[in-house]
């Protein structure tokens, strides 16, 4: 038997190493340029404008993770491939982690800028509150999973829930908060395509930072998927089930 029969194709090693190297190099550069680079001098924000490089990419990572998670949930429903279920779960987990970091970093940022001296940590900014709701929805995904013991039932029900969860994401993060007065940009039109919202000097740090944090999220996600798959292989071995074939959950009928 050739080796690597049980763990093939989870990720291309060359791609993984390439992304890992790029993430390390770019994020190191982001840390240096993010702390030392030029930024516009703004009232209230002052040096904290540099938080843009670190707070906002958390939300890009969450958004990507929820989409990846929903994609694999849909694939699980189509093919019943257990690996898809694990991928959906780990992507949702990474989404929760990055979303949690986004919430906490946003709280600290607002507390010492717009809410300086007020002692207000949670200011009920629409985007903040709705992001919290989104995190609760994804928390519900894990509660639901833990409540079901049978793997196939769990996979199917969780996948359906996950598809509903991802539909709320653009509404909670983008559409609804932009209808209300908020600290966050976007009320005047999409900041993504605005040529004036972001100073040119900051673009060269901000855009690579988004890409680098997306890459970091993917690296951690890949690690978790590989571990989850190892656990799955060992579980099947212990049960005496055929070790190969990801199609264990394929519709039996």
């Amino acid at each position: 038997m050739p080796s690597h029969v049980q763990t093939p194709g989870l990720v291309s090693r060359r791609l993984y190493r390439g992304v890992r190297g790029a993430v390390v190099v770019v994020l190191t550069g982001i840390l240096v340029a993010g702390l030392l680079g030029d930024i516009p001098q703004l009232d209230i924000l002052e040096q904290s404008a540099r938080n843009l490089y670190f707070h906002v990419p958390m939300w890009f990572a969450l958004m990507a993770a929820t989409i990846v998670s929903a994609y694999h949930s849909a694939q699980y429903l189509r093919h019943g491939d257990r690996l898809r279920d694990l991928r959906a779960r780990e992507a949702a987990r990474l989404g929760l982690i990055f979303g949690g970091l986004g919430i906490v970093t946003g709280m600290v940022w607002a507390r010492f800028t717009w809410y300086e001296g007020t002692g207000v940590w949670w200011n009920f900014d629409p985007k903040q509150s709705m992001a919290a709701v989104l995190l609760l929805i994804y928390g519900g995904y894990f509660v639901l999973r833990d409540a079901i013991d049978a793997p196939r039932t769990r996979g199917r029900i969780a996948a359906v829930y996950n598809l509903f969860a991802v539909v709320t994401m653009p509404f909670l993060l983008y559409i609804l908060p932009r209808q209300m007065p908020s600290l966050h940009p976007g009320g005047e039109g999409s900041p993504a395509f605005s040529q004036t919202d972001l100073a040119p000097a900051m673009r060269w740090v901000f855009y690579p930072s988004v890409l680098a944090f997306l890459g970091l999220c993917w690296l951690l996600y890949t690690q978790r998927v590989r571990l989850a798959w190892l656990r799955e292989v060992l579980r099947r071995k212990a049960l005496g089930q055929p070790p190969d074939g990801r199609g264990l959950d394929r519709r039996a009928s």
Partner: protein, 93 residues
Amino acid sequence: MTIHPLRPSDPPALRPGQERPDTTTAYDSTWAEQPDASAPEGLDRLMGQDGKIYVVLAVVLLIWIGVVALLYRTDRQIDELERRVDRSISEDE
């Protein structure tokens, strides 16, 4: 806690006959009062620039190096684990 005066001209202890200072400011060791004669050199000059932001940068980079080391170590351990599981399953067949 004792605040040691930074100025070398300051006496290390109360001389006889000197009154014990009773104001907090007597314990001040303001850096601004240091003689400017010796400009900081080498590493001190580099790290002291721009409000000592380089000190923050050094701290953040050290943390980042730790995180990257963890990332690489975990990758190696997963590689090893995958090899071991593959081997044990191939032996069973």
